[in-house]
């Protein structure tokens, strides 16, 4: 058995090493045709061609250099465009000398009479950005000039690159797409082989490592967890956490460096949805595989508990079908990409204008999706939480929960159980919920009024901040990267706004509770130790009190690890849910609280 396990580990590490080495493999070769196909905009193409001549048809050795060259090209183009299109002092002077009182934008039209592209741009920009000058009176031409200079500065910052150059969003997309398309080498030429050599080996190795557990008697086997370098934040845990954090940073912020990995799954993507893979296809693919493989581990580990078996099968199913396959198939069918189990505010962009437009444009199915998404928020969440507790979502359906309960299971004991961390948790998670609600309200306000300014902020800036710091930073980088450092539910516990919403209902209006069995608790602490949400379960159990906590995701592990059969997840009549602490024992003792 030991030999099988060791072989599995070696195979896994080989696959993992190859996976990482792909970062350095291959060279990059950009042709004008590729650039044309990817940029797909004649005027931008022209600009690009003018600056990229030296890059075309040459072999670049590494992705770092290639990305650097692209960055330089974009910088040069933007610099040039700024010089071309900026409103000069002479322009301002010309407008000011022709001044009319009150000021009229017609002046601008007369200054930029000729129909050169530059004049056309300047005219339009001054109209767009300086519309508020129309009809204003200025006492001196210096005053008018001052205002025009301000408008010119705004155009310089926001107008020129966005309209005539490559803004940061476009640059990010193009850098990624050009890098991926220019990649040349073994991975690009044999994606299937490399998929097998990396992810294939990792899966095979992991399964070989996991399966020998079957030879152990069924039951809780937590032996050696706190001696393990991986499971007790030892060196291995720190290395793993760092790797995960780096992976997420690449995924969300620097996808241009992971094109080899993405190319590897192109064939899979083509088969599923008919398109080449993007970074989020790779992510979804790996995510699903992690849940499936580590789900097998979970199934073996807890095979004595039917609750754990069904729960694990459920998260494996919802991830594979709902989060991965169905959305990809929808794309193949030319329907909007939609995850039928993702719920706002976890699905924070559900109400974004582009998402709403996409669904509304999606015809009958799109409208159904819109209605379904809203019904999940206002009907499914309260009703199902009332009957089953928030676990119906958090530990049976949710993808984040699914990963936490499978890939993250070996780290559940690392959650902080202190009272202090509970206080921090309540502030943080409800803070994120408020942030999500305010952000969404602002985004909807903009959607209906077409005005991006809400009170004193810009809804586009707000949603971007949310996306970067909460959506990517918290849920992704911290949420998963911190598994080996702070336990597997960092995001669910401290950040998920949907968990906060589900939790509020669970706390105040639900039939769900964890009951304590009379006086049988021996305060051993297994329940608290293995609570991934950091609930000090023992605190309640040793007082004979029901556990009713908004954060409880109902994973059922406290009940499973309890050596005395003290804890049970139950749905019962609401009456008596907040039972007084009663320990069955001596006659006539009433516990004074």
């Amino acid at each position: 058995m030991k030999a099988v396990k060791l072989t599995g580990l070696l195979i896994f590490l080989t696959g993992f090493a190859i996976f990482n080495s792909l970062f350095f493999v291959g060279d990059y070769y950009l042709t004008p045709e590729t650039a044309q196909r990817i940029i797909a905009n004649p005027s931008r193409e022209e600009l690009f061609n003018a600056e990229a001549a030296k890059l075309f048809n040459t072999t670049v050795e590494s992705n770092v250099t290639f990305v650097k060259r692209l960055t330089e090209i974009f910088n040069r183009i933007n610099q040039k465009q700024l010089q071309h299109y900026q409103i000069t002092e002479e322009d301002i002077e010309a407008i000011a000398t022709q001044r009319s009182t009150p000021f009229s934008l017609a002046t601008v039209d007369s200054v930029f009479r000729d129909n050169t592209p530059i004049s056309i741009f300047k005219k339009k920009a001054l109209h767009d950005f300086g519309g508020w000058l129309e009809g204003q009176s200025f006492n001196a031409s210096a005053d008018l000039k001052l205002q025009l200079q301000k408008v010119a500065a705004t155009i310089y910052t926001y107008g020129i690159i966005n309209n005539t150059g490559f803004d940061r969003y476009l640059r990010k997309d193009l850098t990624y797409a050009l890098t991926k398309a220019s990649a040349n080498g073994p991975v690009k030429n044999n994606p299937d082989l490399f998929l097998l050599l990396t992810i294939g080996l990792c899966i095979a190795g992991a399964l070989l490592f996991i399966l020998p557990r079957l030879s152990l008697e069924p039951g809780i086997k937590n032996n050696g967890i706190f001696f393990h370098a991986m499971k007790n934040t030892g060196w291995l845990g720190i290395v793993t956490g760092s790797w995960l954090i780096l992976f997420y940073i690449l995924l969300y912020f620097l996808p241009q460096y992971m094109t080899n990995w993405i190319s590897m799954v192109d064939p899979v993507s083509l088969k599923l949805n008919g398109y080449e893979a993007g970074r989020f296809f790779l992510y979804g693919f790996l995510y699903t595989l992690c849940i499936l493989v580590m789900g097998v581990r979970m199934l073996i580990h807890y095979r004595h508990s039917k609750y754990q078996i069904l729960r694990t099968l459920s998260v494996m199913f919802f991830q594979t079908a709902f989060a991965f396959l169905i959305p990809e198939i929808l794309i193949r069918l030319n329907q909007p990409y939609f995850d039928f189990k993702n719920i706002w505010p976890l699905d924070y962009d559900f109400f974004f204008d582009n998402e709403l437009d996409k669904l509304i444009a999606g015809g009958g199915l799109g409208l159904f999706m819109l209605g379904w998404g809203i019904a999940l928020i206002i009907i499914a969440v309260p009703v199902l939480v009332y009957f089953f507790g928030k676990r119906w979502y958090c530990s049976w359906v949710c993808g984040c929960g699914g990963l936490a309960e499978t890939l993250g299971d070996p780290y559940r004991q690392l959650s902080d159980k202190s009272l202090r961390s509970w206080k921090v948790e309540r502030w943080m998670i409800h803070g994120v919920l408020v942030f999500a609600v305010v952000m969404t309200a602002a985004v909807l306000y903009t959607y209906f009024t077409k005005s991006s300014w809400v009170f004193f902020f810009d809804s586009y800036v707000l949603r971007e901040i949310y996306g970067v710091f909460i959506g990517a930073g918290f849920a992704g980088v911290v949420g998963t990267g911190f598994y080996p450092l702070m336990g597997n539910r960092v995001w669910c516990r401290f950040g998920c706004p949907l968990a906060a919403y589900l939790g509020l209902i669970q706390r105040f209006k639900s039939r769900f509770r964890i009951t304590t069995n009379g006086g049988q608790c021996i305060s051993c602490g297994n329940c608290s130790t293995y609570c991934e949400m950091g609930i000090d379960v023992r605190w309640y159990a040793q007082r004979g009190q029901n556990i009713v906590r908004s954060s409880c995701v109902g994973c059922g592990i406290c009940s499973a690890v309890c050596p005395r059969g003290v804890l049970n997840l139950e749905v019962k009549d609401e009456a008596g849910r907040f039972g007084k602490p009663i320990l069955i024992g001596n006659n006539n003792i009433k516990i004074v609280e």
Binding site: F226, G519, S523, G525, N526, T529, P563, N588, I589
Partner: protein, 436 residues
């Protein structure tokens, strides 16, 4: 405001301290030489097995004691001086008390075996014992355990978690047969063997032999068999830890003698928990009961009395629980290892051999007396109420389903058990339709 001094920071002493604090503003000092803070003794095994760290076994965070004004003193009480109402500490200090509560727990039994003082021979009761075990089992390949009780099986599980071979000497015909009926004792024995514990039943320890360095090298059994080993766990029960009370005038026998108010013979001195021996009898209960729950109950009771609400120690129906490797055990009421002529019994075992139930009742009155359950969790609340209400066996069998405390989706066996029961006792007609 009185000064209440509690000796011992285990479950009894700490429960007393907490409940006194809830009801009064007396000054409370808890003295212990074992650890700085209260930890769960029952969890020691999990530290050794790597399921938990010592930190995890502390039921209260360290700030709790200061916040609740419970003073914790790390020292060892060498003697109690009732004449001056004070205790003398190993540090040389003496502390005056107005009320003294003895909660000093137990120590492992040693029966004077030759070689019991050798290195690598020990019992397991306290945190220092655990530290010693950690040290004593380094590089050990084979261990011998003596005494088929709960600490023995815990030690077996601990050692097996580190792949140390275990030979387990049990005096009875099967493991824990002095407490469990033979059916259950056999079930657990089978399970132990499945976990590669070499169980030697009807076997006692004769002597332990050491090497030149004074370290255990083998043991000899009562059958004359020599077993090579590098570690011997002596787990033949515990007895009250009361040596330091000699000469204090506090009456002791095997334990500190107390009346139903947990008072000793000396005014203002109480005793609770493992170290107690009751001078009065309670039906179906031994006078010394060294379990977690009785310690906790005594702590609650003595707190009432100390705070002016004089309360009798009247533990309700007996209950206990344990876990033998993967098999959980709960018991409610009285299930003696052998049947009294007045008693009738029903034993059901699942085909897996890992689940069982054993019910006992009075033959004539049909009054339900007790139940052992293995691998099926039962609701304490139900059985406590049913035992207090003197329900008959009929009622218990018909309401078995109500008492199930297993997690959702677990296989349920009540209908099978009920069916078997009525097949075996056709004279008891089922009162409700039994689902097949």
């Amino acid at each position: 405001m009185k000064h209440i001094v509690i000796i011992g920071n285990g479950i009894s002493g700490i429960t007393a301290a907490r409940h006194i604090r809830k009801q009064s503003s007396h000054k409370i000092t808890v003295i212990s030489s074992e650890t700085d803070y209260f930890y769960s003794r029952t969890a020691l095994m999990y530290i050794y097995m790597g399921h938990m760290k010592f930190e995890n076994t502390k039921p209260y965070e360290d700030w709790f004691w200061k916040k609740n004004k419970i003073e914790l003193l790390r020292d060892h009480v060498v003697s109690v001086l009732p004449s001056s109402k004070s205790v003398a500490l190993a540090s040389g200090q003496t502390i005056r008390y107005d009320i003294l509560i003895l909660a000093t727990g137990s120590k492992s039994n040693l029966f004077g075996w030759p070689g019991q003082e050798l290195k690598g021979v020990q019992g397991l009761y306290s945190y220092p014992d655990l530290m010693a075990m950690e040290e004593n089992t380094k590089k050990v390949k084979h261990a011998v355990l003596v005494g088929g009780g709960l600490i023995g099986v815990e030690m077996a599980e601990m050692l097996r978690s580190r792949n140390i071979q275990v030979t387990f000497l049990v005096r009875e015909a099967e493991f824990w047969n002095n407490v469990l009926p033979l059916q259950e004792a056999s079930l657990i024995s089978r399970h132990l063997r499945k976990h590669h514990v070499d169980l030697k039943v009807n076997t006692e320890l004769q002597k332990i032999e050491g090497d030149a360095e004074g370290r255990v090298k083998c043991i000899v059994t009562s059958a004359g068999e020599t077993i090579d080993c590098q570690f011997v766990g002596l787990t033949v029960g515990v007895s009250p830890n009361i040596e330091f009370l000699k000469g204090s005038g506090i009456e002791t026998n095997r334990g500190v003698l107390v009346n139903e108010f947990l008072e000793t013979n000396i005014a203002d001195i109480y005793a609770i928990g493992d170290c107690v021996e009751r001078t009065y009898t309670l039906p179906g209960r031994r006078n010394i009961e060294q379990v977690w729950y009785t310690g906790r109950m005594m702590g609650e009771v003595v707190a009432q009395t100390v705070c002016g609400n004089k309360t009798r120690y009247e533990p309700g129906p007996w209950f206990n629980s344990a876990k033998f490797f993967d098999i959980e055990y709960q018991t409610y009421g009285q299930v003696a290892p052998t049947r009294h002529p007045d008693e009738e019994e029903f034993y059901w075992e699942h085909s897996s051999g890992k689940k069982a139930m054993h019910l006992v009742w009075n033959k004539t009155s049909k009054q339900f007396l007790g139940i052992n359950t293995f691998g099926i969790r039962l609701r304490h609340e139900c059985f406590d109420a049913w035992l207090r209400a003197n329900r008959n066996i009929h009622f218990i069998v018909d309401h078995l389903e109500e008492a199930n405390f297993d997690p959702e989706f677990f296989a349920r066996h009540e209908s099978e058990i009920i069916q078997d029961f009525y097949q075996q006792f056709p004279q008891y007609k089922p009162r409700k339709i039994v689902k097949a």
